[in-house]
Amino acid sequence: MAGGSRLSEASATNRGVPDFLGRPGPSAYHRLNPLTKATLATVTAIAAVVIGGLSGPTILVVVAVIGPAIAAGVLGRLARMSLLLALPIALSALLVNVFFFPGGETVLLRIGPIVATAEGLAFALEILARIMAISGAITLFYLTTRPADLVVDLERRGISPRVAFVANASVQTVPAMVERAAQITAAQRARGMDTEGSVWRRVRGIVPIVGPVILGSIAEVEERTMALEARGFTRPGRRTLLWAPSDSGGQSLARWALIAALAALIAARVAGVVG
């Protein structure tokens, strides 16, 4: 028997597609097609901006964020995460607008030359509502959808495998790079580097870490390129997908309906009917 074919023998048993691939989510909302969930998130975010004001985004938050979150059973995590996400912006928005709102007249508080106005507060609340809608919608999407699922779905619909690769690899590279930075930090600290202290010292301390992380990652690009080419990635044409998230006519209709609603909303805004 030719030795070369020894590397090429087929499996004796037929085990089929493993069931841990594309395992469906715990709730009906989880099991929706990723593109549907993405459309909902994007439409909600844009609508929050278009509608403006305070009541509009608040209604959106209740209907398009809290509602589905309850259905999916992720309300608790959603609240925690989207608050975390919105916190820096919320703080900025509040501080900046409460105190520095031009044209504010109803004075609430006075600290030296800095004045807090009621108009500023109202404006800040509006911005807050908008931000909650946007961060809520996106966090809901993140909590109910694995990023790889979205990319696989897009690839099934015709996106180039190369774009899919870049998207997936980016998602994995971020935590990998952070871990690498942590390792380098630990190593530097073991060598007596000062990582606590004043802001200036900490900024100076970042440089010997950022450098090796960036350069190390770039150096690896060469090896990764070779490994990917050795596995036929550069072959032109489509590649086989092992599985893809399910979709339905109803969901497709719903997606188009959402987009149409958004378009109508934008038209209404332009015409001055809303916001």
């Binding site: 993405a38 998130a41 901006v49 995460m81 975390l84 996400l85 820096p88 912006i89 919320a90 900025s92 928005a93 900046v96 607008n97 105190f99 520095f100 709102f101 031009p102 030359p113 404006f123 911005i127 931000i131 946007i134 961060s135 996106i138 966090t139 993140y142 990023p147 979205l150 190369r162 774009v163 690769f165 870049v166 998207a167 690899a169 980016s170 998602v171 994995q172 590279t173 971020v174 990998a176 790079m177 952070v178 930075a181 900024v203 950022v210 450098g211 960036i214 350069l215 990652s217 770039i218 150096a219 690896e220 690009v221 060469e222 990764r224 390129t225 990917l228 080419e229 990635f233 550069t234």
Partner: protein
């Protein structure tokens, strides 16, 4: 080929025209949005170019040749750098710069304008939609087009050889370089002042009692002086003429980025994005500008500084990379110092198959 380019330019002009002249919301806003309109027109023009190439040749060869496997393997690294540094600066350091374009400009330099533009674009989308907290960016996606423009410009500058090291130049050359860079920056600063700042308030006006103005005024002056001193010091200490090129490239990219991002920030977020720049916007609004102008004023301060720093960081990273590592990238040869490689195909030596 010619048909493709003519159609692209026509498409660009049409969309730009519609964007700038056609959409007349409020006169001032439309006028200030010309850069954004131009950027959108660029995107449409790119789509037209790709569409026509597809119709003509059934493929995207001229575009995809800039995307070899090495570039594809670099992009996730670049995107990760953008996201990690950008999130760190936005969440931890409340300073009015972004530092979220290092990866974009790196890819632009090594692989070309289109890969650079795509890196920036995709990075911003992924940052908002796919990256989990704590790194997730809440306002990144709408600025994807700004990132695309940044990558495009960086790629074009690199293609023109601006990032090629030019060490050990005589003092005369360095002086000329320094002067040109200064002239460009000063010219831009003057134009910006006249167009965007002068109408709102005057600096150093002794009658001015508002603390905010005074502080701002001095801050800006200090920034400017610090920048000049720093740039000149770098130029003459390192004796590398490319410092001048990097300076000009950074400031120009920053200016364009500011012009494209200001309308987005103003219209979508009312100038509040959670970054350290919000206070600047507020300060300008306090000084009397409307939201549109205030975002421009903030942007024209933060962006050139941010992009200048970023360009220098990228230049440093590039100089730390081995020569042969750079050479293997599509545009790598524009980043190497002089010197020719030995001739190809002499005798029986053959390169890779086409």
């Amino acid at each position: 080929m010619v048909v493709r380019w003519i159609a692209t330019v026509v498409a660009f002009l049409i969309v730009a025209f519609i964007g700038i002249v056609g959409f007349n919301f409020e006169g001032q806003a439309a006028g200030n949005s010309w850069a954004l309109a131009a950027a959108l027109a660029l995107v449409v023009a790119f789509g037209v170019y790709a569409g026509i190439e597809y119709a003509q040749t059934g493929g995207f060869a001229s575009i995809s040749s800039q995307f070899d496997m090495r570039t594809l393997a670099l992009m996730p690294v670049a995107i990760a750098i953008n996201i990690i540094l950008g999130a760190a600066v936005a969440n931890a350091l409340k300073i009015p710069i972004y530092l979220d374009s290092i990866g974009t400009i790196l890819v632009g330099a090594l692989a070309g304008p289109i890969p650079g533009a795509l890196t920036g674009f995709v990075a911003n989308l992924i940052w908002q939609y796919i990256i989990p907290p704590p790194f997730q960016g809440a306002v990144a996606a709408p600025f994807a087009i700004v990132a695309a423009v940044i990558g495009l410009m960086a790629g074009l500058f690199a293609r023109a050889g601006w990032l090629r090291p030019r060490p050990d130049r005589p003092i005369g050359e360095l002086a000329v370089g320094g002067l040109v860079a200064l002239a460009v920056v000063a010219g831009l600063a003057w134009y910006a002042y006249a167009r965007f700042y002068g109408t709102t308030f005057e600096f150093f006006n002794p009658d001015n009692t508002n603390v905010v103005f005074t502080i701002l005024g001095w801050l800006i002056a200090l920034l400017f002086i610090g920048f000049i001193v720093g740039m000149l010091a770098l130029l003459f200490v390192r004796r590398d003429l490319t410092v001048a090129y990097v300076t000009i490239g950074g400031v120009l990219t920053g200016a364009v980025a500011a012009l494209v991002s200001a309308p987005i920030s103003a219209n979508l977020f009312s100038g509040v994005t959670g970054a350290g720049t919000d206070f600047l916007v507020a300060a300008f609004r306090q000084a009397g500008s409307d939201i549109q102008t205030a975002t421009f004023q903030q942007g024209l301060l933060s962006d050139p500084v941010d992009k200048l720093v970023t360009f220098f960081v990228v230049y440093l990273v590039l100089s730390a990379m081995a020569r042969r590592t750079k050479a293997r990238f599509p545009q790598g040869d524009r980043l190497l110092e002089g010197g020719d490689s030995p001739a190809d195909g002499e005798g029986e030596w053959r390169g890779a198959p086409a």
